[in-house]
Symmetry: C2
């Protein structure tokens, strides 16, 4: 930088200022610097820069599973929003493992990020550890909430999203039976279960739950196995299935197909299946999956905005806000 200051004719402190915020120097000098930059292509050393900064311009993004297209999708939108602000997103996946989740957080801590966006694993997460982390580093949770954590939450309004789906299904056919995992890893699953029961009762129907055994994040497989069992047994309370999420539905549809059960609205179909989340693949299932889409864009945008409010200290630490966005019914062929 010293050398670059010499050849560019600009003092080092001014250069330093420029690299921290190009807008903080006079336009004329900004231009001079940029011209010199092209000529000598100097690049400040990332490590030296951050060593003396209390906060870096990095923002951590931690999701449970990077290989889950759902998280890949929302992470991508979040990344874009972070880039817009001039910060640098650092994307980390926890592979469904709680140890890796906290390891990711600790690694992030060591890069002194300005803030962190965390979609926690859920039930398996190390609540206490996450809590202390959120107190140390400006954070906001998204997708999955953890009660009692000192960080704002941005996510979907499961009450509403499940509600409109139950309404729709009841209006257009038999009331749905709820298909879910017995012990879900994800807190949204519990909310959806309750939302289903509440919606059904509000409409005067008796709720029915089918709870698949199985642990972990292999939702398609669990949906497939239990789906096959259920379809074979023929013991469905109604001819309509509402899956707790699309990945379960994808497995279920695969099982139904294999068992020769026709799913959909067309004549000859004996089953309706709906999902939740508008998973990227739900567009290509057979039949295409009727589902409710989370407002990815809004969730991503609001998460980033909320984080920056935190970073800039606009919100006090104790204002634990939750922002929920409504889902949108996506009607396709399966229900």
């Amino acid at each position: 930088m010293e050398d670059f200051a010499a050849v560019s004719g600009i003092s080092r402190p001014t250069l330093s200022k420029f690299f921290n915020d190009p807008g903080s120097v006079r336009v004329s000098t900004k231009k001079r610097i940029e011209e010199a930059l092209e000529k000598y292509d100097y690049q400040p050393n990332l490590y030296a820069i951050n060593q003396n900064r209390r906060l870096t311009k990095n923002i951590g993004v931690v999701v449970p599973y990077l290989s889950d297209p759902f998280f890949a999708k929302i992470a991508r939108v979040i990344e874009d929003h972070i880039l817009e602000t001039g910060y640098k997103p650092v994307l980390l996946g926890s592979h469904g493992r709680p140890e890796l989740e906290i390891e990711n957080l600790e690694n992030l801590r060591s890069i002194k990020p300005a803030g962190v966006l965390l979609a926690p694993l859920g039930r398996a997460s190390d609540r206490a550890h996450i809590d202390t982390f959120c107190n140390d580093v400006p954070s906001v949770l998204f997708d999955a909430n953890i009660d009692g954590i000192g960080a704002p939450f941005v996510g979907s309004n499961n009450e509403q999203s499940v509600g409109i789906m139950v309404d729709y299904l009841c209006r257009t056919g038999e009331p749905p039976t709820f298909f879910e995992m017995k012990s879900p890893t994800n807190p949204n699953a519990f909310k959806r279960r309750h939302a289903y029961i509440a919606s059904m009762e509000a409409l005067g129907h008796e709720p029915n739950l089918i709870q698949a055994a199985g642990e972990g994040w292999e939702f398609e497989e669990i949906g497939f196995q239990e789906g096959r069992r259920v379809v074979r047994g023929g013991k469905l309370p109604t001819n309509t299935i509402l899956c707790s999420n699309d990945r379960l539905a994808i497995g279920f549809l695969s099982a139904a197909f294999e068992e020769g059960v026709r799913v959909g609205l067309e004549p000859g179909c004996t089953l309706r299946v709906a999902g939740h989340d508008d998973h990227p693949f739900s567009r290509y299932t057979c039949p295409t999956l009727t589902t409710v889409s989370q407002d990815y864009e809004a969730i991503a945008k609001r998460s980033v905005e909320t984080l920056f409010e935190r970073i800039e200290g606009k919100t006090t630490a104790d204002s634990r806000e939750e922002t929920l966005f409504d889902g949108r019914l996506v009607m396709r062929a399966s229900a």
Copy 2:
């Protein structure tokens, strides 16, 4: 660190040595340090550590699309292998955009990684830029090859993998028609096309190509659109389709289903469809997709090994090796 040296009773240079390689100090001192570490939980500053290292212990991993389960899967395996070596993987996705690909590389350069594993976009990639990068930083390409780049390549043997599939299909029914994109982004696509033609000719069959229009990485959609067109038109040379990759096949299957064309081996089916890659979702398509699985594990392992050979300077820069692994036929219901 100075403070920690004081309280732990170990000199700072020894601590420094320990943090760089815990095995480089006497076991007794190692124990003393670790005990002190638990008591005072000190953590060296990441930025200060790397500032004076010419090479850090980071290894960059760049893939075209993080939201593509295929890349998510192989990236995950690669991450595991890197972690085993004591290095830290830094995963970056290019979202299919060539500018982002080189931006990722430049960002990596600024963290002075020990090496980089790159799965290039392919045709769209900035060849020259990647080449200079590979000359500066120890790199190995995987998945997609770029000719004339000064870095080893590890990938799949498309000749073999397409070959066994064509053999299988010809042996069990009508010879396959090849379904692909007209102008594929990925170099593997070209290899597969040629492998298909060669295999067909070797077996005395006439090759047939169906080439879908469309650009980009929305393979399912392209497979769906073109698949529907083709199925509707009824102008298929044979009753067997071999798709250039599973994502096209997923779209194709969806289109076939929608058009009421039954796919598979069972009586009543009028079409066979096969894919390539053993995409995580190919297990749940309707019908389940017959495909050929790339040897993810071997590719990941060998890529990392090759990179470390480069890093440690065992291989000379001009030895441009290519390692290809055979695929494995995965017989399921669609063909």
